[in-house]
Every structure is written in structure tokens, then in C-alpha cells.
């Protein structure tokens, strides 16, 4: 692999926006295809961070700054990717359920999913079942991802699953957050539960293929 991309991935892992942007310019000047820059320079770096986070080798602040560098990079690359006709691999509508304002886990899941090349639409916090479903319809989403950290709001997840079924939309429902378990997932008939963000991104990608 090009040393420029290796370096880019390393700077991304350290959250260094400025270096990442400089290296993107350098890679473009070297004639490396934007899609290759995206996958081997940016997304691969984010994958490493995701794995380390899962193993408790890095923590929330490190993930956040790496994701910020990834976002700066993808924003810079976007016009080139559009030109090249690179399409996203699928669409996810994500949010924290109604009544709950915890959003750091949700944001990390979003970043990891973006790190897999998915288009993620973030509805923020305190999102009602209707809002998820409306957004999924409008964007023909492959996935609705619900995060909740409060036991008091876990019931909201069932409302989302029920509404998705009632409206007959095709989106799969993925759920997560500290109090959520596989048993709970089974009991509300959601399509997937994963305990961490890196695995969530892998599962999301598999739903889109």
C-alpha cells in the first residue's frame, strides 16, 4: 500500500485533522483514486480505532477525535467521490429513543457505520417511533438503528419495531445501548442487537449487501 495512505491512516487514528487533510491532498496529487484514499487511508484507520475501542485499548475521547478526523477527510474527498461515481453501500437512520438524551454511544455507532462506507442519517436524541419511520421512508433506509441507555425508555424500542412492522417498511431494526441485551432484542422482535459499535457496523454492512 502507498506510504501516504499508511501515514494517513496513522494520523487519523491519532485524530490529527490537519495532517489527514494534507495527506489527502498529497495522495490526490500522487494520482491515487479517491475511492482508494477513502477505503485505505480513512476507513481502514477508523476500523483500527473501532477494534481498539472494543478491546479497551483506547477510550471515548480517542474515538471521538479519530472520527472527527475521518469526517474532515470524507468531507474533503466528497466532491471527488461524487465525480468518480462512488456510491454509499447503504442507508441507516439512527437516533436515541424518545425520553433519552444519552448520545455518545449512538454517535460512536454512527461514526463506525460511516467508517464502513454507509450513509448515516442522524436524527439526534429523543426520537419518537414516528420520526424513525418517517425518516426511513423518506430515505428508503436499509436500517433503523435505535440507541437507549435508560431502562425507563427501553420500551420505546418496541414501539419502533411495532410501527416498522405495521407500516410494512423494509428497514431492519438494529438496537443497542448499555442496558439492552440479546434477550430483550428477541422479546421485542428487533432484527439485531450488538454490544459494541464496531460489531454494529459490521452487522449493518451485512444487512446492506
Amino acid at each position: 500500500m502507498s506510504t501516504t495512505l499508511v501515514e494517513m491512516s496513522e494520523f487519523l487514528q491519532k485524530g490529527r485533522v490537519k495532517n489527514v487533510k494534507e495527506l489527502i491532498q498529497k495522495a490526490l496529487d500522487e494520482g491515487i483514486a479517491p475511492k482508494t484514499i477513502l477505503e485505505e487511508g480513512l476507513l481502514s484507520g477508523m476500523s483500527v480505532v473501532g477494534e481498539k475501542f472494543k478491546k479497551n485499548e483506547v477510550f471515548v475521547p480517542e474515538v471521538l477525535i479519530a472520527a472527527r478526523a475521518m469526517n474532515a477527510g470524507t468531507t474533503m474527498l466528497k466532491p471527488y467521490l461524487v465525480q468518480e461515481g462512488v456510491e454509499s453501500k447503504g442507508t441507516v437512520v439512527i437516533g436515541t429513543v424518545k425520553g433519552d438524551l444519552h448520545d455518545i454511544g449512538k454517535n460512536i455507532v454512527k461514526m463506525m457505520m460511516e467508517g464502513k462506507g454507509l450513509n448515516v442519517i442522524d436524527l439526534g436524541v429523543d426520537v419518537s417511533a414516528e420520526q424513525y419511520v418517517t425518516a426511513a421512508k423518506e430515505n428508503d433506509a436499509d436500517i433503523i438503528a435505535c440507541s437507549t441507555l435508560l431502562t425507563t425508555t427501553m420500551g420505546e424500542i418496541k414501539n419502533v419495531v411495532d410501527l416498522v412492522k405495521a407500516e410494512g417498511i423494509r428497514a431492519k431494526v438494529m438496537i443497542g445501548g448499555a442496558p439492552v441485551t440479546q434477550d430483550f432484542c428477541d422479546s421485542v422482535n428487533a432484527d439485531s442487537y450488538t454490544p459494541d459499535a464496531a460489531t454494529a457496523a459490521d452487522v449493518a454492512l451485512s444487512f446492506c449487501l
Binding site: G15, N56, V58, F59, V60, P61, L64, I65, R68, G99, L101, D103, I104, N107, L150, T151, T152, M154, A178, P179, T181, F184
Partner: protein
């Protein structure tokens, strides 16, 4: 033994007549006095009455005044949103610290200007009076870094720790000066202990090195005030892999309220082994079980915890690892107390 004697014995690792118990009933106690969350969280008479009722009605061995995590940030004028049935929280669209430069604006303030801090002080005063020495009253104080995060929002603050750690640290210092006066005022009410919430000192959030760098000195300042004035220091941390050693070094607590095994331990049994004779251990029944589990599973979990943590018969208080869900009924709390009273294998 009355509750005061029982807890004192437990903390001194002496024999107890039974395991003390505290299912961290906080916001849920509003239901005992038919108050809204907002009334309960803003009116000292209502709050003290509710917390006292909970102690009496359910036979709890003490009270911790965990109101919510937005009490302290009120002193800097953070706009808060109150709800009828949920805990208050900052209006994150109007945080006092909007930009990384704004940390410089955070200076020591007069805690007496803060309605919420004054209300909490009043709650402690009333509870001490009501308790009349029969059970201990422990004030709950959000740590300096946690308080600062409520003025900024957590996500941006985590990134600021990389972008300008010195600016954050300066502000932590100013917050600490304010909290020091506040802690002194709480101690003046006659409380027996203070429980500091070091929300970020766990593997859930940041590395141990980062926590030591950012908050350990500040929390030490507050713990030292308690030690000097003869008030017990306790720590609450409900994250995964809480950093016990670093927090013990900084605060020399007599007890730790927690939910997950410490970073230094493989499991709860190992935790009892390593820390059982140094610390009072408080926990670790998962609050989500109040909502998700059957009564039988709940009872089993309470017993399992007693088997692990009370095998030497002391140094342990049966409790939830964090606040009892505020929307629930009291059934599981009653069961927990019942188990503490009747399940006594350690006596054999």
C-alpha cells in the same frame, strides 16, 4: 443495632447483625409524596420529606442525597430543563461553554447564589435533623470534571481534552474552588459523609492516565476537606472497569459504590479479595434489572451478591450499582431489603 451502628460497624469491618441495605432510591421517592420530578428536585421540604419517608417506609440503612447531576452546574447559571416525570438536565442548546475559548470564562463563583446548591444544603440539614443520629446522611456531590461537562456537553469536552487540556484543567480548578466551599457548607449541616461521583474515572469513558491528569488532584482537594473535618469520603462510579487504585490514592475513601468489577480485578470475587478489607463495598445489583427481570431473578441476584461480598460477614452493603429507576414501583426495593434482613449465610 440501629442503622447508624450497623453502618459504622460495616465500615470498620466489624461484625454486623445483618447486611446493611440501600437500593439507591432517589427520584423515585417523589411518588411517596405525590410530587412531580420538578417539585421533588427543587423544593427542599418535598425532597427531604420524600427521602425520609423512603428510609422509614422501606427500612433503609441510610440516605444518599443523589438528586440529579445538574445540581452543581446551576452555580454557573447553566440553563436547565425540568420535567414532570424525568430528571432535570442542562439545555444542551444553551451551554455556558459554547466554544473551547469559553473555558477561560469559568471562574470561582459564590455557591450561595445557586438555588439548587442551597436547596441541596437545606435537604441535608433537614435530613440530619429527621435522622436524629439513627441513620447516616450522605450528601452526593458531582465531581469537578463532571460538573464542568454539564456546562459544555460531554462529547465536546472529551475532544477538548485533546485540543486544549490546559484550558480544561484551569476551569476544573475554578470549579473545584467553588465545590470546596459547597462541600464545607454541606458538612456544616451535620452530615456523616459525602459521596463523590467521579463519572469519568472508568473504562467506559477515558483512560486511567487521562483521568489522573484531569481530575485526580481536584477530587483530592475535596476529599481532603472531608478528611480534615472528620466526614466520611465515599466514591460512586457506575462505569465499567472503574479505576479503584487511582481513586483510592486520590481520595482515601472508606467506601465505594459501584456497578461493575474494578479495572484491577477479574470479577466481583476478586474485588472482595483485593479490596474487601480496605473499603466498604456498596453494590452492585444492576438497576436495569428492576425493569427487566422477574422478582425471582432479582432475589437470586441479591443473594449472589451477598454470597460474594459478605462472605466474611461485613464490609459490605447490599445496594443497586446506581440509581434505582425513577419510573418504577418499589416492589424490587422491598425485596432487596427483605433479602438483606433474612438471607444470612455468612452467620454460619
Amino acid at each position: 443495632m440501629n442503622s447508624m451502628e450497623r453502618i459504622t460497624a460495616m465500615l470498620n469491618h466489624q461484625e454486623v447483625d445483618r447486611i446493611p441495605v440501600y437500593p439507591i432510591l432517589s427520584g423515585v421517592t417523589r411518588k411517596l409524596v405525590n410530587a412531580t420530578y420538578e417539585e421533588w428536585a427543587t423544593n427542599a421540604d418535598v425532597c427531604a420529606d420524600a427521602l425520609y419517608k423512603a428510609v422509614k417506609q422501606f427500612n433503609l440503612d441510610g440516605v444518599v442525597t443523589l438528586i440529579d447531576l445538574s445540581v452543581e452546574c446551576d452555580a454557573w447559571g447553566q440553563k436547565l430543563i425540568f420535567h414532570e416525570n424525568d430528571a432535570p438536565h442542562p439545555d444542551y442548546s444553551q451551554c455556558i461553554i459554547q466554544d473551547i475559548e469559553d473555558y477561560a470564562k469559568i471562574k470561582k463563583v459564590d455557591y450561595k447564589q445557586s438555588k439548587r446548591m442551597m436547596m441541596h444544603i437545606d435537604v441535608c440539614r433537614q435530613l440530619v435533623e429527621k435522622a436524629n443520629g439513627e441513620f447516616p446522611v450522605t450528601a452526593f456531590v458531582f465531581g469537578p470534571l463532571g460538573t464542568l461537562s454539564m456546562l459544555r456537553n460531554q462529547e465536546d469536552m472529551y475532544m477538548d481534552l485533546y485540543d486544549d487540556p490546559d484550558a480544561v484543567k484551569e476551569a476544573v480548578g475554578e470549579v473545584t474552588k467553588t465545590l470546596k466551599d459547597y462541600v464545607n457548607a454541606l458538612i456544616d449541616t451535620g452530615i456523616q459523609g459525602i459521596m463523590f461521583d467521579t463519572l469519568f474515572a472508568s473504562g467506559t469513558i477515558m483512560s486511567q492516565d487521562m483521568w489522573i491528569e484531569m481530575e485526580s488532584e481536584a477530587i483530592k482537594v475535596l476529599a481532603d476537606v472531608c478528611h480534615e473535618r472528620g466526614v466520611l469520603v465515599m466514591i460512586h462510579n457506575c462505569g465499567e472497569k472503574p479505576y479503584f487504585d487511582a481513586q483510592i490514592e486520590a481520595t482515601k475513601p472508606c467506601a465505594f459504590s459501584f456497578l461493575h468489577p474494578p479495572a484491577e480485578c477479574t470479577d466481583f470475587a476478586d474485588c472482595k479479595e483485593k479490596y474487601g478489607n480496605k473499603l466498604g463495598l456498596i453494590g452492585c445489583v444492576p438497576p436495569p434489572m428492576v425493569v427487566t427481570s422477574t422478582d425471582e431473578a432479582w432475589v437470586e441476584e441479591c443473594k449472589r451478591q451477598i454470597d460474594i461480598f459478605a462472605k466474611d460477614g461485613t464490609g459490605y452493603m447490599l445496594a443497586t450499582g446506581c440509581e434505582y429507576p425513577s419510573g418504577s414501583d418499589f416492589k424490587k426495593a422491598e425485596l432487596m431489603v427483605e433479602i438483606a434482613k433474612t438471607y444470612t449465610p455468612y452467620k454460619k
